[in-house]
């Protein structure tokens, strides 16, 4: 038991260890320079990611409250990788910030929360993980303390988050009342699909919908993304969303399998709404962060299509897509964050003729956007293709057609940015930016990931081999 405890929860322990190291540094000495801390954190996170790849075991703990298996390990590794990239990218922003250590402590706490959430085998554990992953996020959303937008974003986030947990909890409480259990394995045996159960389930889903920002539970997303610091935004849009998606898939596929028809209908409605609304709003955005917020909402719509497939392909393609999404979205946010930190410009109009002085960044942004739009040979193409293919497995071609047409709309706004970067004239384009080493590394990782994850079918096959069959 004792060794199990240490080995099974290895990934959590490692992150917790990093948190403690940082806390010691905080307490022990105030002399450390920001650069030093940042480099240390980056190295620690890299070690965390690499160690996460090895010596993993399968099993359950605490009376099935905690479980782990290769898929969950892989998911956690994806999140670790994403966090590492974000940490690298945050370099330019945090270099001159007062509270670097606090930032990372809070950030890593949320990561631990997500790990627990993914590993949860029980609604209580799940809830705890969820809250642990969202409350510190609200705090770091306000990390540009003196900025009005930052505070507003954080406020909106915490209240919406609390409200959504309220609904989620209300749903959980009703489920508990109906079934008398909170453990996933037992829950699935008690579900029979009566109306109250469906009502509870809808509230439960609404909680998830909030986290993954599915329409109509998405309204906080754009405001928070715009107001929060870029690193937090990218973390919210990729890591936090990815983690919830992982849980969402596994809960739907295992716990709520008996009422699959119900959630299939929900997913159908939500995905169509999410794609359409996300796209329609993304079209008209000027602020790149806000633009990426809506684009990420639309992306969720496609993911929901994939989830609705209810098959092994479905679960594999969601994990696969999130991996690709980590690279693509972080590539885009990385460039936006760099530009924002170094020149303070965030609007699409500011990016006109960006290519003139910053060809490298332009290509990174372009490739990332192409990947988000699902254009081959970037990985995004494969990700989207597989999502839609698993969605089509149910035989609902209407959904696929809607999704396919929405891809055109999404392509339009991605191309709008590309157009600004490469084609639109500008008398006063953004100066040539000096990129520090670590963001450069982050961008390199992203581009490499975008190019290789798709073409190397090994990645997908590996994930598929781990994925739970429906």
């Amino acid at each position: 038991m004792g060794t199990d405890f240490l080995i099974l929860m290895k990934q959590e322990w490692m992150v917790i260890a990093i948190i403690f190291i940082l806390m010691f540094i905080k307490i022990g000495s105030n002399e450390w320079k920001n650069e030093r801390i940042l480099n240390l954190v980056n190295i620690l996170l890299l070690i965390n990611f690499i160690l996460g790849l090895f010596w993993n075991q399968e099993g359950t703990l605490f009376n099935e409250m905690y479980k782990t298996n290769p898929l969950i390990v892989a998911e956690k590794n994806i999140l670790s990788l994403g966090t590492y990239i974000i940490a690298l990218q945050a370099y330019s922003w945090l270099k001159n910030h007062q509270h670097v250590l606090e930032f990372y402590i809070l950030l890593l706490s949320t990561l631990v929360g997500m790990f627990f959430m993914i590993s949860a085998g029980n609604l209580l554990m799940f809830y705890l993980g969820l809250e642990l992953s969202s409350i510190p996020l609200a705090a770091i959303a306000n990390f540009d303390l003196e900025k009005r937008k930052s505070s507003e974003a954080a406020f909106k986030f915490i209240i919406s988050s609390a409200f959504s947990s309220g609904l989620l909890l209300f749903g959980i409480s009703l489920i508990y009342g109906l079934t008398g259990t909170l453990t996933f394995t037992e829950l699935s045996q008690h579900l029979n699909g009566n109306p109250l159960e469906i009502f509870a389930f809808v509230l439960f889903i609404a909680g998830f919908g909030f986290k993954i920002s599915a329409v109509p539970f998405h309204l906080w997303t754009a405001d928070v993304y715009e107001g929060a610091p870029v690193s937090v935004t990218s973390y919210l849009s990729v890591i936090s969303k990815g983690a919830v998606l992982f849980v969402f898939v596994s809960i739907l596929y295992t716990v709520f399998k008996p009422i699959a028809i119900t959630w299939y209908n929900i997913l159908f409605i939500l995905s169509v709404l999410t794609m359409i609304i996300g796209n329609l709003f993304a079209i008209r955005q000027q602020n790149l962060k806000r633009f990426l917020a809506f684009s990420s909402i639309a992306q969720v719509g496609f993911i929901l299509v994939g989830i609705s497939g209810a098959s092994r392909e479905g679960s594999a393609s969601v994990v696969y897509f999130v991996l690709i999404y980590v690279f693509s979205n972080l590539g885009a946010f990385g460039v936006v964050g760099l530009v924002s930190a170094l020149s303070g410009k965030e609007n699409i109009d500011d990016y006109k003729s960006f290519y003139k002085n910053n060809p490298l960044l332009s290509w990174v942004l372009a490739i990332s956007l192409f990947s988000l739009a699902g254009i081959p040979p970037t990985a995004g193409f494969f990700g989207k293709f597989f999502l839609l293919i698993s969605g089509a497995g149910q035989g609902n071609y209407l959904l696929i057609t809607i999704a396919a047409l929405n891809m055109i709309v999404s392509l339009y706004y991605y191309l709008k940015v590309i157009k600004a970067i490469f084609m639109d004239p500008n008398d006063n384009p953004i100066e040539k930016l000096a990129i520090p080493a670590s963001p450069k590394l982050a961008l390199f990782i992203c581009v490499a990931g975008i190019v290789l994850t798709g073409l190397m079918s090994y990645v997908y096959e590996y994930i598929y081999s781990l994925a739970t069959s429906f």
Binding site: A316, F386, A392, I408, E461
Partner: protein, 500 residues
């Protein structure tokens, strides 16, 4: 012959271009790469003949199969038949000519040649794919470079055109996607769904699903090949694009659609193809006639050629819709012929534009006096376009008409006659353009001081003209190249009919 080399070579060229420095290095590399492609495509033709004359009668040659995404049964499956070989030849011709025409491209030259070569990669990959996922992959690979080529190096309302082109083509490929996915889930090859073209062709997909998904696939591919009423990207896109991009667009990219209509939509869903034939024929006839008449009213040389492409590509779809062996051969020939001819046309227009800085017919005139070689090239392209014997256009159109006429239905006959009538209209607009731009009195004093074609332009035009004439005076080799492929398609159609 390892077909993957057709993908690897452009890829290597593209990467080398990215690493190169300066216009000289870049364009030399591009030329070497495209010459390599050219030789390779000729080698492929030779190897193909050798195999065939050695008695190899299998449908596809040089097949290579690798399980790419094994869980989804997606394969990297490549191979060629005569139809693909002819399309690959076309691509190689156009690519080398395109590179030569852009020899003096100085603005952002590295990116320009990179995108050109990358585009050719997409085309090669598309034509050798025997797995419809791979095919779709390469289809989309070939779209975005066009967007950038037009948007960055284009002229006129380039951003609008580039956006329109990208969106419409992607909308087309989205429809294709739905069609392919629908097809995929209706296949059962050894208990699994399959994207494999050969495997799917061997099984019978039930008619209801064929009828459901055929329109998606056909219209989707049709958008690429300017199916009425989804052709509006053609005029804007072509006219805004830089010369080489126009050549690629009309010469290669529009052919992707025709090839897809034939190879995927018609071949894999034969019953639906028969059921929808009247609609296809209706739309393509409208495209032919309407495109021709719309061309007549254009005043910009590029618009003239672009609209005429709408009309000419209508022939391709007409040939496919007629569903006779000869008409399908004609459709493929028309693709090759139109590809070469329209590339030549755009090259000539580009050469004229780069010297006179105008493309308006009304502002040009008497060019034959000052730049006789370019003018001659223009006239040759025009004559090929209006279907003069000795050039490829005639062969293709006549084959198509012969094939279409075999379809005894009265309405199909009417469509054929209307299509025939369009060549008269073609003569009208081509001769109008030639008459006022090339012939006539010299309209502008500056025209007297223009320099004639440089060596690279002559070489580019020469290569394309050789292609056109080679088909025009000796069409039998192309005919024999295409025939087995067309026979397979017909055989499949025939079997599908008997199964009904």
């Amino acid at each position: 012959m390892n077909l993957s080399a057709l993908i690897i070579l452009p890829l290597a060229t593209a990467i080398a271009i990215l690493l190169a420095r300066g216009l000289k290095q870049v364009r030399t590399l591009a030329l070497i790469g495209s010459t390599g492609q050219f030789l390779m495509s000729l080698g492929l033709l030779w190897a193909y003949w050798k195999e065939r004359s050695a008695g190899n009668t299998s449908q596809f040659l040089f097949e290579f199969d690798y399980a790419w995404f094994a869980p989804l049964n997606i394969h990297y499956h490549i191979g060629v038949d005569g139809i693909s070989v002819s399309m690959i030849l076309l691509t190689a011709f156009v690519v080398i000519a395109g590179v030569l025409v852009s020899w003096a491209q100085d603005n952002m030259n590295k990116e320009f040649f990179f995108l050109l070569i990358f585009l050719s990669l997409g085309a090669y990959g598309y034509f050798i794919s025997l797995d419809i996922f791979t095919l779709f992959f390469f289809l989309e690979v070939a779209v975005i470079p066009k967007f950038l080529l037009i948007g960055i190096w284009g002229s006129g309302k380039k951003e609008y055109s580039a956006m329109k082109l990208a969106l419409m083509l992607m909308a087309g490929s989205a429809l294709v996607f739905v069609g392919l996915v629908g097809l995929y889930f209706n296949t059962d090859v050894n208990g699994a769904h399959s994207f494999d073209l050969v495997a799917i062709s061997k099984m019978h997909i039930d008619i209801a699903s064929q009828k459901l998904f055929f329109p998606f696939a056909f219209i989707g591919f049709g958008v690429f090949t300017a199916l009425f009423p989804f052709h509006t990207w053609v005029p804007d896109g072509h006219s805004s694009a830089p010369t080489a991009a126009s050549m690629f667009l009309a010469g290669i990219s529009m052919k992707l659609g025709g090839y897809g209509c034939l190879r995927v939509a018609t071949y894999l869903m034969p019953d639906a193809a028969q059921a929808y034939a009247p609609i296809i024929i209706l739309l393509s006839t409208i495209a032919i006639i309407y495109g021709a008449f719309a061309t007549m009213m254009q005043t910009d040389l590029k618009y003239i050629n672009a609209y005429s492409s709408v009309s000419h590509c209508g022939f391709v779809l007409l040939g496919i819709g007629m569903l006779t062996k000869t008409s399908i051969i004609g459709a493929v020939m028309q693709m090759v012929s139109h590809g070469l001819m329209t590339a030549l046309f755009f090259a000539a227009i580009g050469m004229i534009y780069s010297r006179t800085h105008t493309r308006m017919v009304a502002q040009l005139g008497g060019l034959l006096k000052s730049i006789p070689i370019i003018s001659t090239v223009f006239v040759i392209a025009g004559l090929c376009s209006l279907g003069l014997p000795g050039f490829s256009g005639f062969v293709a159109e006549m084959t198509l008409f012969m094939g279409s006429w075999q379809n005894a239905d009265q309405w199909y006959r009417l469509a054929t006659i209307l299509a025939c009538a369009s060549i008269v209209v073609t003569a009208v607009y081509i001769l109008r353009a030639v008459g006022s731009a090339i012939m006539g009195p010299v309209r502008d004093k500056h025209f007297n001081n223009l320099t004639d074609a440089s060596w690279n332009e002559r070489l580019a035009a020469g290569i394309l003209i050789i292609g056109i004439v080679a088909i025009g005076i000796a069409p039998f080799w192309l005919n024999q190249l295409i025939t087995p492929g067309a026979e397979h398609i017909m055989e499949h159609l025939g079997r599908a009919v008997s199964m009904k």
